[in-house]
């Protein structure tokens, strides 16, 4: 199981940096950045927080469907390069135009590959080959620069689940998504060996150690959850890292180990 921290309501870059630094200090995998009232430019926030905190992953949840997908792919590629290859692009269907989600996802995937492509869909056509654009008309477009990652990590989110699973992408489920329904979706996807290794995530509200542990164990046993994006203030990172994460890594721990942890609380025995 891997962990991202999502700040509930950051007011500025300092809040995001505190989250990322807390994740780093606790050994969590990274942070998730999304659109907030104070910080609506998701990939701008992602590039800035990556510049301030090394090594952590920076997942950026971006709405897909309304804007031109080539523009989104370009911004993602630059953010990935600027972060040294640490971007996870989490693609959520834009609420106003859910019908454009699948095509937009496909244009983004083409655009992030290092080859010229042509796309003719119902909603998008790349290149457009407009007669008014007369100089050097192209049959295929190569979007540059390529991201730092050989394959930019791309997940669907929320209602983009079936589109993401059909494409063997990862998926970040929402807080209230039903684990049994997720289990059915992933069981269907398992018919294809392509989905082996595809990240199965869900957002989790932080309500304390016991609650998170119970939900993650349930998520794991139902839909094979292997990523948790925990909506929590930075202060929760240490508890997640010491009290939750060790208990959801293996299929089974050695009998007695959890009782040992509960009795000795070794994370409180720092040499201070």
């Amino acid at each position: 199981m891997r962990f991202l921290l999502e700040h509930p309501a950051p007011q500025g870059l300092d809040d995001l940096v505190r989250s990322a630094a807390a994740a780093h200090a606790a050994g969590l995998d990274g942070v998730l950045v999304r659109e907030w009232q104070a910080l609506p430019g998701v990939l701008v926030s992602a590039a800035a927080v990556a510049a301030r905190v090394d090594e952590v992953l920076v997942a950026a949840e971006v709405e897909i469907g309304a804007r031109h997908p080539v523009e989104i792919a370009e911004e993602a590629a630059v953010t990935d390069l600027a972060s040294g290859g640490r971007l996870v692009l989490v693609a959520r269907p834009a609420a106003a135009v859910p019908e454009r989600y699948e095509e937009s996802l496909d244009v983004i995937r083409h655009a992030l590959a290092a080859r010229p492509f042509r796309f003719e869909g119902e909603h998008w056509r790349v290149p457009m080959n407009l007669p008014q654009n007369v100089h050097q008309p192209e049959e295929r477009v190569r979007v540059t620069p390529a991201p730092a990652q050989p394959r930019l990590e791309l997940w669907g989110a929320g209602p983009g689940r079936s589109a993401a699973l059909e494409r063997a992408l990862g998926h970040l489920a929402d807080l209230d998504d039903d684990p049994d329904e997720l289990a059915r979706a992933w069981a269907g996807a398992e018919a294809s060996p392509a989905t082996i290794g595809a990240p199965r995530g869900r957002r989790e509200q932080w309500l304390g150690v016991d609650d998170l542990l119970r939900r993650l164990r349930h998520g794991r046993s139902t839909f094979g959850q292997d990523w948790a994006c925990v909506v929590a203030l930075p202060e929760a990172a240490a508890e997640i890292a010491s009290l939750v994460r060790p208990r959801v890594q293996l299929h089974r721990l050695t009998p007695g180990l959890e009782e040992f942890w509960d009795a000795e609380r070794p994370w409180e025995r720092g040499l201070r």
Partner: protein, 328 residues
């Protein structure tokens, strides 16, 4: 106005060319390091360009690259030269710009340009011949976002980040004057041309903003080094003009003689030489009604150590000689 508030450094493009291939992620790391040095030396801003769908990976997303710079620095301003407004979703762009302004503490300098390559417009499904209208509509939409008409909070800079209009054609000057934006003029003009444009702009604008200019320069006491730098710029510009520029009745390398003439004109304005000589050329520009310089020692073929030496020499030897120039 202090010297540091009117001298910025340009132009990071993040290209990995045939002449000087580079690893892109290293180029972005270097951008942060370069900006840290520029900040330490007291320059006002770093300026990034924008182009797209080209073999060398020219940065298509300068706001995200500047967000990296924002995270690596604390006071230097973050400029685009130019952000191609017609090629972006204006509402999303305005939000990204407001976010950059917010998380940098109000350091955004938004140079805006039309863009000119058909291939870039066509990749995005846009008509190049509509770019003027797209620009006006885009600027209107962006200003509406910053006024809060879509429910957003305001940028740190009120009512909006400082906006500069790129270009030198009459519509660009009129647009800048009428909208109350600054002007950011290209590097290829003579002092006389700057004077004429600045006068036109100031005559038309009710409240004129700053008049800026990009200027290419290279500080060296060895004439051979200066000449070599101009030669390298010539090759760089030949590649660009030959690949991209629609010339009279022909396109790019199809009319190599026209390309060469354009390039010769462009490199004719490079100030290369000892600090006194470079400063003299810049003083002439400042005396012609230009009040901001985006000095350009940055090219992809300039090694990082070379660039850092240039930044130091410009800050320590050239900028002091500009004190008082053009402010009469």
């Amino acid at each position: 106005m202090s010297v540091s508030s009117r001298v910025g450094v340009s132009l990071w493009t993040m290209q990995s060319t045939a002449a000087r291939p580079g690893l892109w992620r290293a180029l972005y790391r270097r951008l942060g390091e370069d900006a840290q040095l520029a900040e330490e030396l007291g320059f006002h801003a770093v300026w990034l360009g924008e182009h797209r769908v080209w073999y060398d990976g020219w940065c298509p997303a300068p706001l995200q690259a500047l967000a990296h710079v924002a995270g690596k620095t604390s006071t230097i301003h973050l400029g685009t030269a130019m952000y191609l407004v017609p090629q972006h979703d204006a509402v999303a762009a305005a939000r990204s710009i407001a976010t950059l302004d917010h998380l940098s503490g109000g350091r955004v300098e938004l140079g805006t340009g039309l863009g000119y390559r058909d291939a870039e417009f066509d990749a995005l499904g846009l008509r190049r011949d509509r770019r003027g209208r797209l620009m006006d509509a885009g600027l209107d939409a962006m200003e509406a976002v910053w006024r809060g008409e879509h429910g957003d909070g305001p940028p740190v800079q009120r009512p909006a980040p400082r906006i500069w209009m790129g270009g030198m054609a009459a519509p660009a000057i009129a647009r800048a004057a009428d909208r109350g934006y600054g002007l950011l003029l290209p590097q290829t003009l003579s002092a006389g041309e700057y004077r004429r444009i600045a006068d036109d702009y100031c005559a038309r604008a009710v409240r004129p903003g700053a008049v800026g200019a990009l200027r290419e320069l290279w500080v060296s006491d060895d004439p051979k080094v200066g000449a070599r730098h101009i030669e390298r710029i010539g090759l760089h510009l030949t590649e660009e003009a030959g690949s991209w520029w629609a010339l009279k009745d022909s396109f790019g390398f199809a009319a190599r003689d026209q390309v060469d003439r354009q390039v010769a004109r462009g490199i004719g304005q490079v100030a290369a030489g000892p600090a006194e000589q470079v400063a003299e050329a810049l003083r002439a520009v400042l005396a012609a009604g230009v009040d901001y310089l985006a000095l350009r020692p940055v090219f992809e073929f300039v090694e990082q150590a070379e660039l850092h030496e240039q930044l130091r020499r410009i800050a320590e030897e050239v900028v002091p000689l500009l004190e008082g120039a053009g402010t009469s």
